[in-house]
């Protein structure tokens, strides 16, 4: 990480980091994921943690997400979330 030099940031030249990526997922009756289908079908062994964030309710597009930290059978860990406004699943580092 570069130390903050205190220079004024120019908003026009900033690019986002860690944008969410759309994925396909299977979910159970309670809405929790059971398998991730992108790029290939991977069954979720356990959901290690889950949390919900609701923010910016005053905007036209509020942020309402249900995050799940999942562990696959292969030992790989991933953080995915379901966007509660459009129902889509995304993966994102947290």
């Amino acid at each position: 990480m570069v130390q903050n030099s205190g220079k004024t940031l120019c908003p026009g030249t900033l690019k986002p980091v860690n944008l969410p990526e759309l994925i396909k997922a299977e979910e159970d009756a309670s809405g929790l994921p059971t398998a991730i289908l992108t790029p290939r079908r991977q069954v979720i062994k356990t959901i290690e943690d889950r949390w919900r964030i609701d923010d910016e309710w005053w905007r036209r597009e509020p942020v309402s997400r249900l995050y799940c930290a999942v562990l696959f059978a292969s030992g790989q860990r991933l953080v995915v979330y379901k966007d509660l406004t459009d129902g889509e699943w995304y993966k994102q580092g947290y």
Binding site: T13, K15, P20, V63
Partner: protein
């Protein structure tokens, strides 16, 4: 200080007759564009009642059958530059006041020109007779200008030594170099001549016109303290070309500019020096004229870095129409800035890296290397916490 004013009346029209002698004797109006407005730049001497900067429509309402010519400003400036260069052979103090008007300082020339007539003769020889030059010699720029403007036709010069007040008192207020609305205001007050203005005390004029009121009174009395600003001679490099076919394509224009820059950088006089400022102009089909200047924070030492800046300029300020001629005038030449490098190799490596990143940016025209910056590290929304900012903002 004694100053000589050289006036070349209808200079632009005379320049046009050099290339097109057939327009002599025909009523002609030379026009130029300023924004969306077309104004009169100059006109043939037989068209009475016209003034420079008059709207073209107004001029055509008087002389609807006059020939219309689009002004070729680079050509007129080039011809006037030659004349100024010839005048500088007579005196080192030459001020370029306007197209067709110059002031010459006479300080220190007594050993070369023992009297005024020999000086006037030398100056008139420097100006081609085709332009019908008029000269005026007086103390101060404004009196010298008036002396030239009202010089007798048989001699084409006037020397004002004594009798300045008598000469000025009958002249109209319209000769004053002030705003048009102030001239109209003077006439409304019944002040039509410089003599009437000179007779007033400074208070009422300043109360009505502010600081310009004092200037009006001083000028009406023949007192002009404005100093002479002689031309600053700096080395210029000029290159221009005519395109083989009229084009609107940016790529074609850039290829032509690259060719001009190749000629510039191949000159022996430029060896080891870079470009600090340049002036680019284009003349389009229909004589539409476009010009812009560029300054470089550090001297551009090669064609590539110069061309990338010109490309950005051409993209930000598109051409008004198809382009026929392109020219470059390099007005600032300088050596590369010296930089003290660090003794430590790690710091030097960092400097090399930053320099390479900067060159990449100049070549591709947009930032290529970014660094991660904290924006809202406390945010619950992950994509809001950090952002990528260009390494060289």
């Amino acid at each position: 200080m004694r100053i000589l004013c050289i006036l070349l009346p209808h200079f632009s029209w005379h320049c046009e007759t050099l290339n097109n002698p057939e327009i002599q004797g025909c009523p002609t109006i030379i026009t130029y564009n300023t924004g969306s407005q077309k104004l009169v730049l100059d006109y043939s001497p037989d068209l009475a009642g016209l003034q420079p900067e008059m709207p073209l429509q107004q001029a055509l309402a008087r002389y609807g059958e006059a020939n219309l010519l689009q002004a070729d400003l680079p050509c007129y400036r080039a011809i006037f530059e030659e004349i100024l260069g010839a005048l500088e052979q007579r005196s080192p103090l030459v001020e370029n006041a306007d197209l067709g008007q110059a002031y010459i300082g006479l300080e220190g020339l007594q050993m070369i020109y023992p009297d005024d007539r020999s000086l006037l003769k030398a100056v008139q020889e420097a100006v081609p007779a085709h332009f019908s030059p008029r000269a005026g010699l007086a103390e101060g720029k404004f009196p010298a200008y008036l002396a030239a403007l009202y010089s007798p036709p048989e001699a084409n010069y006037r020397i004002l030594t004594d009798g300045l007040t008598d000469f000025l008192k009958g002249l109209p207020c319209d000769v004053l170099p002030i705003a048009g609305k102030n001239k109209a205001c003077l006439h409304e007050f019944g002040l039509h001549t410089l003599g009437q203005l000179a007779a007033l005390s400074p208070g009422p004029l300043q109360a009505q016109f502010g600081p310009e009121g004092r200037k009006i009174r001083d000028l009406a009395r023949g007192r002009d303290e404005t100093p002479l600003y002689p031309r600053f001679m700096e080395e210029n490099i000029e290159e221009s070309t005519v395109l083989s076919s009229v084009t609107v394509s940016l790529e074609a224009i850039l290829i032509t500019v690259e060719g001009l820059l190749t000629r510039v950088f191949s000159r022996e006089s430029l060896k080891g020096r870079g470009i600090r400022s340049l002036h680019i102009w284009t003349c389009g089909w229909g004589a539409q004229y476009w010009e812009h200047s560029l300054q470089f924070k550090e001297p551009a030492m090669d064609i590539r870095s110069t061309l990338s800046r010109i490309k950005l300029l051409l993209e930000d300020f598109p051409q008004p129409g198809p382009v026929e001629r392109i020219g470059l005038k390099i007005t600032g030449l300088g050596y590369r800035n010296g930089r003290q490098k660090s003794l430590f190799s790690e710091v030097r490596a960092q400097d090399h890296l930053l320099n390479d990143i900067k060159q990449l940016e100049l070549r591709l025209g947009s930032p290529q290397v970014y660094k991660i910056k904290e924006v809202e590290p406390w945010s619950r929304i992950p994509e809001r916490r950090y952002a990528l900012a260009p390494l060289n903002p």
